[in-house]
Amino acid sequence: MADTRSPQAEASQTDPATQVTWRSATGRAAAGTRRSSRSTRAWRVWSSAAIVAAVVLAVLIVPPLVDLDEQAVHLADKLLPPSLSHPFGTDDVGRDLLLRCVYGLRVSLLVGVVAAVVATVIGTAVGALAAASGGWVDRVVMRLVDVFSSVPHLLLGIFIVAMFRPGVWPVVISVALTHWLSTARIVRAEVLSLRSRPYIDAAISGGASRWRVTLRHLLPGVLPQAGLAAVLMVPHAIWHESALSFLGLGLPTHQASLGTLVQGARSSLLAGDWWPTLFPGLFIIVPTLAIAGLAGAWRDRINPRRRSELML
């Protein structure tokens, strides 16, 4: 961008004729900011990718490789500040926080990814069913979606979690069952726009059944959107899991998850011990923002007109 701008800037100073502006209004508005914003975006993508790669490696490799017990209690070492032997310090019963954060992230990522995938599958199925059927099926299904989305996610999630014993799978079910609604809407809108294309007419005329049209032509067309929705859902699902665990409704407290870590550390925060809340908090924020950053870059690629924002 800089290379193309400077000769023109010189020319416009010397030759009055070129002072007539030829760039479009949007080009003019963007010219000053484009260079920095493009490098910022590249930086954001690469740093996000690096963080996600590091996180995935950490949660995949560390637990099987180092044979340490993250639940082992050492009361003599309780609430040690960060040091070389405990880089993140220890918690109020002397457990190593770095280890617990990695294990917690492992659980949170598992919940986030599984819940996002399940939610996307449900949402895609419901959205495609509504749009492909049309008529009263569409109206009834989408009004049900409206009704579900009028209830706050967290409240519904708490209700679902409360029906089971604490554990990973109730949290997955709770997050998945409360998060398919937006995907259903996205998929329905996409399918509706695809359904009116002439190639669907051609398929019908070629004898394709409703099923075949949906599976062969409509669903493959919405897969990129649905995949993107799934990835954008992962950070959201992780936050949701953390929130449920923080409220004491998610995982049992001895099991490390980012939410239970923050929850357990609240009491020591008042005593001036900052590390038991700070590091799990960072472990919630940084990886989820990195995932959201990557998903945003993907969305910019497939739909450049809509700049990424977090789906919160």
């Binding site: 002439p198 190639y199 051609a202 019908i204 070629g206 004898g207 394709a208 409703r210 049209v213």
Partner: protein
Amino acid sequence: MLELRSLTAGYDRRDPVVRDVSLTVAAGESVGLLGPSGCGKSTLARVAALLHQPDRGQVVIDGEPARGWRHRAPRAQRTAFGVVFQQPRLSADPRLTLTQLVAEPLRATGRAVEVPDRIRELARTVGLGEDLLGRRPHEVSDGQLQRACLARALVLRPRWLICDEMTAMLDASTTAALVSAVETYRADSGAGLLAVGHDKVLLERWCDRTVHWDELARS
């Protein structure tokens, strides 16, 4: 015989595009339907191919009234029509290669075993080179894609061909090639043709008789 009996159709019941139009195409006959753009001739073509439900009126195919529209039409009635649309880009699924595109109706009707033979035969009929068959729609020109769309319309050997502005986007030589491919097929199979367009010279040369939209709408 394909009979369109006093059809009223459109996208808003209070303001139909097609009002009380009747048209008959005899078996093996080719009828050209002329009209300015936006007059409703494409809608009429869609109704004739059972792709759009009319508000009133009847489509009778060889003495048997159409028993539904779109998916509700019995498969035998739907596949009696081969339809070629105006814009090849929009009428081809961008994810399928040209071979898959042409083979799709055969697979959809459970006749996948016939695919290799029919593809080879049709590629020759419509003038598609072997090298093009593996490509996807965005890798070929409009004319080449329209040839594939015509092949797709012919693959089930329909008794009726509906060509909705089939050649409007194409150059003269491709137009000539497509029209002659249609005529070859009709000579072999005795299929009827309803060609919709606004090119008077082309339709008058191509079809046994041409009908102007105004005459239909008035009657």
